[in-house]
């Protein structure tokens, strides 16, 4: 495979920032059997009409959907606003949340490029320069050094501060901040401890908190909707009640069990926090949780309060203010219910948002202890609090590790102990655990369904994950053998759905995806056989 063109010099590197170069499908990382002859169509260009209204990144892709400014005056105003925001990013008042990590990463990168090969987007794309982990960080660094630091404009060429700020540069920077899934694989390899994913998130944050520019699926129809309606899915409490009623009927029909979804049970041991996306797209996940917890005799409840029934917190991906509002709301709900603990369901970013990140945000009066569902499920399965028949799961299973749960939280073994107990044909992907590849839908990408971003996401950011899945099942790749990719994370499942559909993986290889609890219930003796339904959804 031929790599994408590389800049020969610093001057040429800067041209990569504003000159458009689309993804060349011929340079995407090759896939193994039966995809040797698979041909990807180019990522479609936006129509002239859209291009007249929406800015695109240097790769021709639009994620942030930045409106084209009306005139030069507006452009200049936005550039000035960016510089004001940039200065705020380095003040403790405005950015105490990440000031120290940001300073450390901005000031100590030695530009050794050790991180580049760790990035699934950079390598998956055929090493497109604009996707290199250091590329966008270096642009920001040059702008900071030139425009914020005293004497920054003295000998800028000699010192490498050679990016001249313009609206086009800002558009590229904003768009490129949405070409990194914040998986932090690059940071693991940095010998100095620099974190380019953190810098990327800070770029998103600066655009959001100062200029109001963010991926609409994260902001308008994400955090704003969640805080207003109760869920980023648009699900309100009345709709929730309908879904739960349906879930109870569905459980009865599928399993023969009579289970009532517990709501607002004061003093329960656990408030279970689900990603509301599960309710609409994968109701079997919600149902499986209910079956396991009920049969294991766990005291649990769901909340019907606004925001309390949706563990999603997209603020984690782009905006500290929105993140804080939602995190506080989650803890307020739990505290008000008087539950002993919160349990985070199968959602990677909710794990990180509700556990380590919230740990340094929630004041004492709102604190509730929080556990991962994986740890609770491990206890239930490994200590045989439910009856299991692993032979019901006698098909190949592999595990996708959500980055937020493994790399950012160190929860690696509980899910494996469960799978070793219930899935006799479990096999690992390589690499896995804390060294896994992102699904390609991380940091909000999986929910972005507009413009040409989904085309980019399936072809580029999810490419290495799909290759890993094929390699994990290489010994049984024929479509006659049904295979299961276990992805215990809602966003990852969203990406899996799109990836497997794009690559026609069910028809060509018999590969299906789903969560962990569905597999557990599929093996439960007290449940009618066949909980996992072998059809693409």
């Amino acid at each position: 495979m031929e790599n994408a063109p590389r800049p020969a010099s610093r001057e040429e590197l800067n041209r990569f920032l504003t000159e458009h170069e689309g993804v060349d499908p011929r340079r995407l990382v090759p896939l193994p059997f039966p995809y040797e002859d698979w041909e990807d169509a180019p990522i479609p260009e936006l129509s002239e009409d859209k291009r007249s209204r929406i800015e695109v990144g240097p790769d021709g892709v639009a994620a942030a959907q930045i409106k084209v400014p009306a005139d030069d005056e507006e452009r200049d105003r936005r550039v000035a606003a960016f510089l004001e925001g940039l200065a705020k990013l380095f003040t403790k008042e405005n950015n105490w949340t990440f000031l120290q990590p940001l300073m450390l990463s901005m000031e100590n990168c030695v530009k050794c490029q050790t991180c580049a090969e760790a990035c699934p987007i950079y390598t998956g794309s055929g090493r497109m320069e604009a996707y290199r982990p250091t590329f966008r960080a270096e642009v920001l660094r040059k702008i900071v050094n030139r425009y914020l630091k005293p004497g920054g404009r003295i000998l800028p060429g000699l010192r490498g501060n050679d990016v001249e700020l313009s609206w086009d540069v800002l558009v590229s920077l904003a768009e490129l901040s949405y070409r990194c899934t914040l998986c932090r694989r690059c940071a693991q390899t940095c010998p100095v401890g620099v974190d380019n994913a953190l810098i990327t998130r800070e770029i998103r944050k600066l655009f959001s908190q100062e200029l109001g520019i963010a991926m609409p699926e994260l902001h308008e129809t994400g955090t704003i909707k969640q805080l207003t309606v109760g869920s980023s899915t648009g699900l309100n409490p009345a709709g929730l009640a309908d879904i739960m009623e349906f879930a109870e009927e569905d459980i009865q029909e599928k399993t023969g069990l009579d289970i009532t979804m517990p709501f607002d049970v004061e003093g329960a041991e656990y408030l279970v926090m689900h990603n509301a996306g599960e309710f609409l797209s994968w109701p079997e996940n919600l149902q499986a949780f209910a079956i396991i917890l009920e049969l294991a005799g766990v005291s649990w409840t769901l909340s019907s309060e606004l925001v309390g029934y949706d563990s999603v917190n997209y603020g984690l991906f782009y905006d500290d203010v929105q993140y804080s509002r939602i995190a506080l709301k989650h803890y307020e709900v739990a505290r008000k219910l008087g539950v002993r603990k919160m349990m985070v369901g199968e959602c990677g970013h909710a794990h990180k948002a509700l556990m380590p990140i919230a740990d340094r945000l929630i004041p004492e009066q709102l604190r509730v202890r929080t556990e991962s569902c994986l740890v609770v499920l491990e206890d239930i399965v490994v200590n045989e609090k439910i009856l299991l028949d692993p032979s019901r799961n006698d098909f190949p299973v592999t595990l996708h590790d959500p980055c937020n749960i493994t790399r950012s939280m160190g929860i690696v073994e509980p899910q494996r102990k469960i799978l070793r107990k219930i899935a006799p044909r479990f096999r690992e992907m390589e690499p896995h655990g804390v060294h896994n590849y992102c699904c390609g839908g991380g940091s909000g990408f999986a929910i972005c369904q507009s413009m040409n971003f989904p085309d980019w996401r399936t072809r580029v950011s999810g490419r290495l994950k799909f290759r890993q899945i094929l390699e994990a099942f290489s010994d049984c790749i024929e479509p006659e053998t049904p295979k299961y990719v276990c992805a215990p994370c809602s966003n990852c499942k969203g990406q899996m759905r799109d990836l497997l559909n794009y690559y026609e993986a069910w028809d060509r290889c018999g590969i299906l995806y789903g969560g962990l609890v569905e597999l557990i219930v599929n093996a439960m003796v007290d449940v009618r056989e066949g909980f996992v339904e072998w059809e693409m959804h």
Partner: protein, 299 residues
């Protein structure tokens, strides 16, 4: 060069280097508490959890369990990084061939400098001047070789070249020159002579300082004074990136210093300008109230 300049020069270099390094480290150390940003594996997790990159969050009711931290785990990780540049070796072998000798050269020169100061202080050194000379010769040689390799790589490697500014090349040239001068001093005078010169200067004697030694001291001094203001401070910045960010997994406990720092941070004023933020309030106010936009009105 007359010896009368030596003492003020060494003093100036030490003051600037130490003050600059303290200033830089102080900026990092006094930064406000930040939200957690752990990255696994974390070296102080006890084995076997550390081996798979696990954390205490893998435990049921983790807050009820005693927190175990393996200082040995951290020490082994740091030793492998410092002595072998393990991360670079594993992930960027080509660069490691330049970086490894370069860093070892610097370590040897630091050790040799310590030996010189001990000698000047009148210690009967376990290492005689011959060994000190060997340290300067080997250290200088490795710095020279490493700098040249890195310079070549940064000028020719298509991955590195576009990210290398002229100042980066100048830094490497400067270090190569310093390495060469260290070799020159070791060969021309021997390090016993350096100890004698510095001892004489300290006792107020007029001592002749050869040109090569004077040049070495000038270049080395300039480098040391310049270093704290560059990214070359990663030798201590790395402490913060690891201990204060990647490995900072300390959970908040009621009444802890962290809780006090959080309370202070929540009172900081916010003046981000986007409509949804509500500028002019404290963090606590902003986080607990919704802007008009989210109440259905206009931001």
């Amino acid at each position: 060069m007359t010896s009368t300049l030596v003492l003020p020069w060494v003093a100036l270099v030490l003051v600037v280097f130490v003050a600059g390094s303290i200033w830089r480290a102080w900026r990092y150390a006094r930064a406000p508490m930040h939200l957690r940003w752990d990255l696994y594996p974390v070296a102080h997790e006890p084995a076997p959890r550390r081996d798979h990159g696990g954390s205490y969050l893998e435990e049921r009711e983790w807050w009820t369990r005693p927190r175990e931290r393996s200082l040995l785990g951290e020490a082994v990780f740091m030793a492998e990084e410092i002595l072998f540049l393990k991360g670079v070796r594993a992930n960027n072998r080509r660069l490691w061939w330049g970086s490894f000798p370069f860093h070892w050269g610097l370590y040897l020169l630091v050790l040799t400098t310590v030996g010189i100061f001990l000698g000047v202080a009148g210690w009967r050194l376990p290492l005689d001047s011959g060994l000190l000379s060997l340290g300067a010769l080997t250290g200088g040689g490795l710095v020279l070789a490493g700098s040249v390799i890195l310079l070549v790589l940064r000028s020719t490697d298509p991955k590195l070249r576009p990210y290398t500014a002229p100042v980066d090349r100048l830094n490497l040239l400067f270090l190569a020159l310093f390495g060469a001068l260290c070799v020159g001093v070791a060969v021309r005078y021997g390090l016993g002579h350096v100890v004698t010169v510095l001892s004489g200067v300290l006792r107020g004697h007029e001592v002749r300082v050869g040109r090569l030694l004077a040049a070495q001291m000038a270049v080395g001094g300039l480098f040391l004074m310049y270093m704290p203001f560059t990214r070359m401070v990663h030798f201590f910045a790395k402490y913060f990136t690891y201990h204060d960010v990647r490995w900072d997994d300390t959970p908040m406990e009621p009444g802890s210093p962290l809780a006090d720092r959080l309370a202070a941070a929540l009172n900081y004023g916010v003046d981000w300008s986007a409509g949804h933020v509500r500028t002019g309030k404290t963090w606590a106010e902003v986080a607990t109230t919704l802007p008009d936009e989210e109440k259905g009105g206009k931001a």
